[in-house]
Subunit: 283 residues, 2 copies
């Protein structure tokens, strides 16, 4: 396990950054934070989620052995370009971004030779943002994906895995950035695109009086941070467009069978979906 | 409230019929059941969910003041045509079908003059079937919709409302069969069509290892009873096809904005869906 004397720096103290801070503090680590919002820092200091924090303080950067970015992806790329000169020699860096290919490449291409950046994606969250809502328990049922490239060392990969273990993620997986982005285009981005479209496509008044659980379940994630998600969608455009096309094709196929009143065809679709979904219950 | 001496007959003792029986017994009513499966009847008698039950017994039909059908819609239409002559003079009849227009019309057109059929839709269920899974608590958070036509009396409408109150539904609404089927085509049938298509459109192996809550939420209802749902879809074909087209159009619009990298356009969609979804949280 990572030595308890090591110091973590979290850059971006929102919902995810704050939840990392809580999880690390709980295990006895020293946690520093950089955030542009002084109120978030004050809150975190008062709650003892962090040991020190500042809007800008070169000393915090110079002391940290491990740096975790919980910023929007493009903001992180810019931040690292601009401020990496302040980081401790040999520091290990990871992130929390929901897309990987462009981001990991952009960071690794411009990184100081003595630093290492290993991409990570904690698949956890809430429909609210801000350090006030942070909660280390969101990691307990969640998946954590490490996305190494050929620029990463074994030490870097093991660091990301240990970090996920410290934070008690349910499942840890290793995928290439490419495979990660394909997968996330389907299980996360396509589902958000569907929820948003479903929520927007019908404006019957008082619909909320007649809805059952199905509609609520399918639209829960239609409450979406528009700045972060438009960035995530654009950074994974090719994969998401392909997934939307594949899904729209399957829905069109169902519609055609319905128009043709092809009952055996519809029943086959329902049997297939039932069997496939059952695999997701086995845990 | 309905007189406790009145006798209820449930035709079709599955998940829903059994849950009605439990709810009615709990409030002290006498409940009879007709079901083609003797094992379901034996189970219900043993669990004291019903007072009497048979695969076929004219006496049970002749004694019931209130008859509740929990059969598949088309099976119910046939059953009533064939066996209504056995029902008690003046008996009040309702159902539990998820589609209304064709069904209510077909029943009311052929009904004995002294009987009344009032359509009802309890928007409750589980992803399993059978009386063994019946549970009157599934009604507590659920909506109940009464769908009167000009053939219904005030007495009939009040009966359906009282039944829903006895079973402790969360919300009771009255809609015409036409409005009901339009609404259900959107909130229930379109959501199931989406869940099935999402589950079937990608067969990447081991996907279950990487999924977060979003994908699980959107596909929960992809576990679907293929016989019942193909019947429900066909009975509401026009509405469902239109809802699929509207939804597919909204998804296509999102995709176009993504391809154009129209960030303000995407953000507008996300803001709209967030605002709309928030209305469904107010309870």
């Amino acid at each position: 396990m990572i030595d308890k004397k090591k110091i973590f720096l979290i850059v971006g103290l929102g919902l995810i950054g704050g939840s990392y801070a809580r999880g690390l503090k709980k295990q006895g680590y020293t946690v520093y934070a950089i955030d542009q919002n002084q109120q978030s820092l004050d809150y975190a200091l008062q709650e003892k989620i962090i040991d020190a924090g500042a809007v800008w303080e070169p000393d915090l950067l110079a002391q940290a052995d491990y740096v975790i970015f919980a910023l929007y992806p493009l903001t992180m790329v810019e931040w690292i370009k601009q401020y990496q000169s302040y980081l401790k020699p040999g520091a290990m860096i990871t992130d929390t971004s929901g897309v990987k290919c462009h981001i990991v490449d952009a960071v690794q291409e411009n990184l100081r030779a003595d630093l290492e950046f290993i991409g990570s994606h904690p698949m956890a969250g809430k429909e609210v943002s801000g350090v006030q809502y942070s909660d280390e328990n969101i990691f307990l049922p969640a998946n954590y994906i490490v996305t190494p490239t050929d620029k990463n060392t074994k030490k870097g990969i093991l660091f990301a895995i240990e970090l996920a273990q410290i934070l008690q993620f349910y499942h840890i997986a290793i995928l290439s950035p490419q495979r990660h982005d394909e997968m996330i285009g389907f299980v996360s981005q396509l589902t958000h695109a569907i929820a948003v479209s479903l929520m927007n496509c019908n404006d019957t008044p008082n619909l909320e009086e007649y809805t059952g659980d199905s509609f609520r379940d399918l639209t829960r994630i239609a409450k979406i941070n528009e700045k972060m998600w438009s960035e995530l969608f654009l950074l994974n455009k090719e994969n998401l467009v392909r997934e939307i096309d594949d899904f729209a094709g399957a829905l069109q196929d169902l519609k055609e069978k319905l128009i043709q009143e092809d009952v055996p065809g519809l029943q086959d679709l329902f049997k297939e979906s039932t069997e496939r979904r059952a695999r997701f219950d086995k845990k």
